[in-house]
């Protein structure tokens, strides 16, 4: 298991290198000038040139790339061009809200989507099934910011059950945290709920036709045990896979959700960074999310072994 883990980590190196080169080139070929973002629109060309010089933006691309990669190899992700702060520190400040948002959304998803999917598969073809499918298709079809606005309009502005915006860290108390993260979490979860309930349903439908489910029924077991113990565990792997690949989708959701609910997270940081051409910051965030994506999918692969004893990694 450990060697498998290490081997997979090793395999991630070329992937991450590809990401690094790709992102670096993409950004440097982009028009736009970080110096302008620092100096503002009334700056003269001379002033801009001086800033570019001091930032090393006038060096040849190869030099810039090697410097960046070299520093990164030593754990130095560089400083933001715009704010002149260490990139890692800036990311650190914004990580908390994003992780909290993602985890809350994921928890909501699992709590809502799994029972939905199981129920739909169980009552396959019935009203419940149709309803679940309708909800999930709608979840796919409505943009996340519209969902966000509707949630705010109904639950925050009209009913005043939740605050309209903002974020409180868990350290400020579970109450305020939960109060503020609920709506954004739900908005972000919406598309995920759609995705996972569908996948759960499809996977369950497949599993429910398996011989061992028939065996379980032939044994006269209660339906709950048949569904959740016998079927769901076998249906888990495709669901886990979707959770992993859906992570990228969640990131785009995070960007929009953070904007709508004014949550100071990574999503907003990266949009700002792209618009300001803050190269080291963008590169670091993209590498970080890519790395997280690779890691999450690796963990999910490993978790297959937990749900299915037949899978052994060497």
């Amino acid at each position: 298991m450990l060697t498998y883990f290490l081997r997979r980590l090793l395999m991630a190196i070329p992937v991450m290198f590809f990401v690094a080169v790709f992102v670096f080139l993409l950004l440097r070929l982009t028009p736009g000038d970080p110096a302008q973002a620092i100096a503002g629109d009334q700056a003269s060309l001379d002033q801009l040139e001086a800033i570019r010089d001091s930032l090393g933006l006038n060096d040849p691309l190869s030099v810039q790339f090697l410097t960046w990669i070299g520093n990164m190899a030593q754990g130095d992700f560089g400083r933001s061009l715009i704010s002149d702060r260490p990139v890692l520190e800036m990311i650190g400040q914004r990580l908390g809200p994003t992780v909290a948002l993602a985890l809350v959304a994921m928890a909501m998803t699992l709590m809502i989507a799994l029972p939905m999917g199981v129920l739909a598969a169980w009552r396959h073809g019935g009203m419940t099934d149709r309803l679940v499918m309708a909800v999930s298709v709608i979840g796919f079809s409505v943009p996340i910011f519209v969902i966000g606005y509707v949630l705010i309009g109904v639950f925050a502005v009209n009913l005043r059950w939740f605050p309209v915006q903002g974020y409180k860290a868990l350290a400020d108390g579970i109450g305020p945290f939960a109060h503020r993260i609920f709506l954004p979490g739900l908005a972000l979860a919406s598309i995920y709920i759609a995705l996972i309930s569908r996948m759960t349903r499809a996977s369950m439908l497949e599993v429910l036709r398996e011989d061992y489910v028939r065996t379980a029924r032939a044994k006269g077991l209660p339906e709950g045990i048949v569904l959740f113990r016998h079927a769901l565990r076998n249906a888990a792997i495709p669901i886990l896979t979707v959770i992993g690949t859906g992570f990228a989708m969640m990131i785009s959701g995070v960007v929009v959700t953070e904007t709508v609910f004014n949550i100071p997270g990574l999503g907003r940081l990266v949009v700002d960074a792209v618009l300001a051409r803050d190269y080291p910051l963008i590169q670091a965030i993209i590498l970080l999310t890519a790395g997280t994506y690779v890691l999450i999918n690796l963990l999910i692969d490993l978790s297959y072994a937990l749900t299915d004893p037949r899978i052994r990694y060497q």
């Binding site: 028009p31 736009g32 000038d33 302008q36 973002a37 620092i38 100096a39 503002g40 629109d41 009334q42 700056a43 003269s44 060309l45 001379d46 002033q47 801009l48 001086a50 800033i51 570019r52 010089d53 001091s54 930032l55 933001s80 715009i82 704010s83 002149d84 702060r85 800036m90 400040q93 914004r94 606005y149 705010i152 925050a156 502005v157 605050p163 309209v164 915006q165 903002g166 904007t259 709508v260 609910f261 004014n262 100071p264 907003r268 940081l269 700002d272 960074a273 618009l275 300001a276 051409r277």
Partner: protein, 526 residues
């Protein structure tokens, strides 16, 4: 113990907590600023938010009062009769935030750094012989020849005010940002709580000694009545409005005017204009590229575009915009009506004139590339409205949408359109950035590569701009300024699309909010 009694106990504890808190709670003013604060060096950036940040932490030697007059702030001044020697004496009790005293040497270093960054300061330095510290508290500026606006420049709030900082910071090379935010101003910057692009926190500088004179803009006493000021960035105006209504924030620096009705019914929120200067929207031609290298064609555009439509579409409520021909702003001392003929008559008449002019010109139907920023709300509408009018006049117009950052860098190049050049775009200027020919970037007629995008060439304009610097009296200045305005219109340097005011909103708990050329956080009480 039963569950019920546990609950009661908890409730009691909670009540006790809420009662106990206000006794020693500090007052925090939370403000949503017009833009997020991303960089901190006030010498490096011309962005308004950085300027506002600068006035929190730093001070200028002179302040500017509401009559546009330089007044002593960190220093009192004496000007020699021959206008060649300016002696500035630092007032007592000035301390940097790191605890060291403010010295004249610090100020000389700061002035040197500032003068490398600021455009008009660079012009001034051509007249300056030396700047030296003659003692710990006295510095002297010797001029080679008389230069009118020295005091004005030291006091000006825009685009780069002459902020003072410790020498060790002021010695930071020109292109680099200062490593620490240490000033002598009424607020201290809390570096630990700074989240670039999201939040900036300032605490009251307990050691700050305000001046005696009453506060007026950046001059006079800066008395701080709140313990903390928190700037919060909100990318979405709707969110900001919801937040001020729920009391999450106390102040919104700039409310989208269309949304004011949402706040009108709320008695806890007041709205008003804090910055009386406002901002001017300008449409800039690229004088180096066809078709706008032809003054006749530029003039057709001047007639075609309509201040009213542009302002109405962008701002909506006529209470908050003004139409006037003045290129210096509608309400400043140099404001004038010269050149108004381009704005006179009905929009239809002017359109007819534009069509006529264009038909008579050599315009060959080449599409005009109009840059439009997608992510800067105040400037997204003008290109659309302008494009409609220009098309009506007979132009082919292509609106190229891009983010503001791309637009800013693209505007600096003058290569042909198909290689990434441009013909026309809109931007806006705080009136403090255009209120006289010295600071005004758009009227530079030298055509130098280094000048602000557009590169018009006009020799007479250059003569007038030089004359203005040495003009002695206000009348003389006014006369020159008017001629400049006439040329700017006649030669169609750029289109002045009118002036708008930013409307701020604040909760009624806030009292004594100061007005100023930037948003000021002293004087206000919560």
């Amino acid at each position: 113990m039963t569950f019920h009694s546990l609950k009661t106990l908890g409730l009691a504890a909670m009540l006790a907590g809420t009662v106990a808190l206000p006794a020693w709670a500090e007052t925090t003013l939370t403000a949503v600023m017009q833009a997020p604060l991303r960089s901190l060096d006030p010498h490096l950036s011309t962005a308004q938010i950085v300027r506002t940040h600068g006035f929190m932490v730093f001070e200028t030697l002179l302040g500017m009062d509401e009559d546009y007059q330089p007044q002593p702030q960190m220093a009192d001044y004496v000007v020699s009769d021959d206008m060649l020697t300016y002696t500035l004496t630092l007032r007592d009790g000035l301390m940097w935030h790191d605890g060291t005293p403010v010295t004249a040497e610090d100020c000389v270093a700061s002035l040197m750094r500032w003068s490398q960054r600021d455009g008009s300061a660079q012009t001034m330095m051509e007249y300056v012989d030396s700047i030296e510290a003659t003692s710990d508290s006295e510095l002297v500026i010797h001029m080679k020849s008389p230069f009118g606006p020295v005091l004005e420049l030291l006091a000006k709030p825009s685009p780069i005010p002459a902020f003072m900082m410790p020498k060790r910071l002021a010695d930071t090379p020109v292109g680099e940002q200062i490593p620490e935010i240490i000033g002598s101003g009424p607020f201290k910057f809390v570096a630990d709580e700074y989240r670039p692009g999201d939040q900036a926190v300032y605490v009251k500088n307990e050691d700050y000694v305000p001046r005696e004179e009453p506060a007026s803009w950046t001059a006079g006493a800066k008395v701080v009545n709140v313990d903390r000021v928190v700037w919060q960035a909100m990318p979405d105006m709707q969110t900001s409005i919801n937040a001020i209504q729920s009391g999450d924030v106390d102040l919104i620096e700039q409310v989208t005017i269309d949304l004011l009705p949402l706040l009108a019914m709320n008695e806890e929120v007041e709205t008003g204009i804090l910055n009386p200067l406002g901002a001017q929207v300008t449409g800039r031609f690229n004088h180096r590229l066809p078709p706008f290298d032809d003054p006749q064609i530029r003039k057709a555009v001047m007639y075609a575009l309509d201040q009213e439509t542009i302002m109405q579409t962008a701002i909506g409520n006529s209470e908050y915009y003004q139409l006037c021909p003045s290129i210096y702003g509608c309400e400043v001392p140099l404001a004038s009506d010269v050149g108004a003929e381009y704005l006179e008559g009905s929009a239809e008449d002017r359109m007819a004139k534009a069509q006529e002019l264009l038909a008579a010109s050599d315009y060959d139907g080449t599409p005009v590339l109009m840059m439009q920023p997608t992510d800067l709300t105040v400037l997204t509408t003008q290109p659309i409205v302008a494009a409609e009018r220009m098309r009506e006049a007979g132009f082919a117009v292509e609106v190229a949408s891009m983010d503001w950052s791309t637009l800013q860098s693209r505007k600096n190049g003058w290569q042909p359109v198909d290689e990434g050049g441009w013909n026309f775009f809109f931007t806006y200027w705080g009136v403090a950035g255009i209120w006289n020919p010295l600071v005004h970037s758009l009227i530079n007629g030298s055509g130098d590569d280094n000048t602000w995008a557009g590169w018009p060439v006009n020799a007479r304009m250059e003569e007038l701009r030089a004359d203005y610097l040495t003009a002695g009296t206000l009348d003389e200045q006014k006369e020159i300024a008017e001629e400049i305005q006439q040329i700017a219109w006649d030669d169609s340097f750029y289109f002045n699309a009118g002036e708008f005011k930013s409307v701020a909103a604040w909760r009624t708990e806030l009292q004594d909010i100061q007005s100023g050329p930037i948003t000021l956080f002293w004087g206000v009480d919560k």
